[in-house]
Symmetry: C2
Subunit: 336 residues, 2 copies
């Protein structure tokens, strides 16, 4: 089993493989710059379902089924599913997974779920507890928007710092070591609270957690940013990415050189009216399971530190005047 | 590391120890039959806080701090915290844990969280990824009631099948094998949907998941109910416990002989006006971390299959006419 490098960080000695992966997105994401990389693009937001929640369920099931198919696996080959999502009670995960006869380990990490689930699936595979383990998450603009902010049809004005919750899902199947991409290490983050109270500035709330987790990973593994082609955050967007770069500047580290953010990759920012960029569990999930893992598989990216960022924002707590805590989890995925 | 027994079940070869444990409850629970076993009993529902949510945060922090103290551990001795709760965005876990400098792995399993977190903490300890790992959860009658059903002050009539969400928290610290209680095995359950749509009948919704997980555990480990002093479910209450017994009768198994339910142990059912019993993440957590682990430590119980049961109930999905899926996770805790 992997070594325990230091607080929060796991080294996978016998790094498990990303066996297969798939993504499913909505129409807006299908008009973005990564359209060619997605396995399924829905034609309209409801995907033919009677509710947005059920549409999101469809996205997650579609990503899971595509990942199985692309990996030539049957449902019975999957030992455990690690999944969660943004909706209250992680609805889309449990309502999706009830159709499968597979043990379910439910997670809540908000938009950090893709990294959290991928790290845990890797722990189970490396330790021999799972033959194959699936890691999965999703989000949907309409289901998230009405839960966290405004009724969608109300058409509330969006602030410049606000981000667009992706209608998207991603699924990775992790298997014992065979071929790249490999999962080489992971760091589970701490809850970090920057004191941000603006529910329209998720990037600002999450930047501190991303900084904390990336710094911890580099320190614990005795690596520097030079060991990575790309340090990829989940959904900091314009505001959060700027803050992350500033936070690293205090340590005299120019992270901008290798930093990319899924929230700035999913849409044509200037054309698609998404203000500070994309967000949501499905943002980092679909960018990872669409574009990034393909680039790593092709050897065009060698070492990526995938750091999904989650704002643990509760409307109830915000209404009580509380600030927004955040968490980030990092997974080192490698072509080597 | 533990063997992989069969689908969903983990055997801990070198069974980790329950190093310490603690519970914290509200005033109603402090008037119940297990009052003598709790580490902290609040005097009133708000515990001196300005909101019920913050009161629940206090319960979880209190249970965590007591578990550290009883185990003579410092915060720095804990490698990871596995936690979640019933509230949207698992609020009470993240707002509690932000005060600690410890990596956080957020879970959502509704009332199955105590078993889910305990099983994952055991995996991390047994595999050498954690020195000590904490497993923790909570619930609060008032915060849960207004989120899932009615505004508390409205005083809505409660149905006979309804259960009383416990105001309670529990925390277990798992450490490498040294002394009993030991965590010997665990089974992660599947999402099981019995088609129950009554949001006041959580026991009915969960009975099928409990049956599924207990049966799977016994089959995978080649054990029978005779190998246990107690098969303890989380919060099936009167209705769900009856259904569980009936489900096992179909297999000619008289589980009633060894079955107990935390939901029927926390209150004086006939006197405390709780209808079908207790429920909530904090129900099984406080009964486990108050009464049961003490009985196992003293050798009065030898082998307990602790099966926490979670109704993955979403008010949004219920309003859309959907049934309530459920999940149960089982952990074999032993004095031997």
């Amino acid at each position: 089993m992997g070594n325990y490098y230091g607080k929060g960080t796991i080294n996978f000695d016998n790094a498990p493989s990303v066996h297969s992966y798939a993504s499913a997105v909505g129409p807006k994401e299908g008009q973005g710059p990564l359209a060619d990389y997605f396995d399924y693009i829905g034609e309209e937001a409801a995907l033919g379902e009677k509710s947005w929640e059920m549409a999101e369920v469809i996205l997650q099931k579609s990503a899971f089924r595509s990942a199985l198919e692309k990996g030539q696996l049957a449902e019975t080959d999957i030992s455990f599913i690690f999944a969660g999502d943004l909706l209250n009670q992680c609805t889309c995960s449990s309502y999706g997974i009830r159709d499968f006869d597979i043990p379910f380990i439910g997670l809540f990490g908000a938009c950090s779920t893709m990294a959290e689930s991928l790290a845990l699936a890797s722990v189970f595979v490396e330790s021999g507890l799972a033959q194959n383990a699936a890691a999965m998450t999703s989000s949907h603009f309409c289901s998230a928007e009405r839960q966290f902010r405004m009724p969608v049809n109300y058409g509330g004005q969006r602030t410049p710092a606000s981000q667009w919750t992706a209608t998207a899902a991603g699924c990775v199947v992790v298997a014992p070591r065979k071929a790249p991409p490999y999962v080489r290490a992971a760091t589970f983050g701490k809850v970090t609270d920057m004191g941000v109270k603006d529910v329209n500035n998720m990037g600002g709330a999450m930047a501190g957690a991303a900084y904390e987790t990336i710094s911890t990973h580099l320190a614990n593994t005795q690596q520097s940013i030079n060991d990575f082609d790309m340090i990829l955050t989940g959904d900091l967007g314009k505001v959060g990415s700027g803050l992350l770069i500033d936070l690293f500047k205090r340590d005299s580290v120019d992270i901008a050189r290798v930093h990319a953010d899924c929230g700035l990759m999913l849409y044509k920012i200037s054309e698609q009216d998404v203000h500070a960029g994309a967000s949501g569990c499905g943002c980092s999930a679909s960018v990872l399971c669409g574009y990034i893992l393909k680039r790593i598989s092709e050897g065009k990216l060698k070492n990526v530190l995938f750091t999904a960022t989650g704002a643990l924002m509760s409307p109830t707590m915000s209404q009580q005047g509380e600030s927004i805590p955040a968490v980030a989890h990092a997974v080192h995925i490698s072509a080597e």
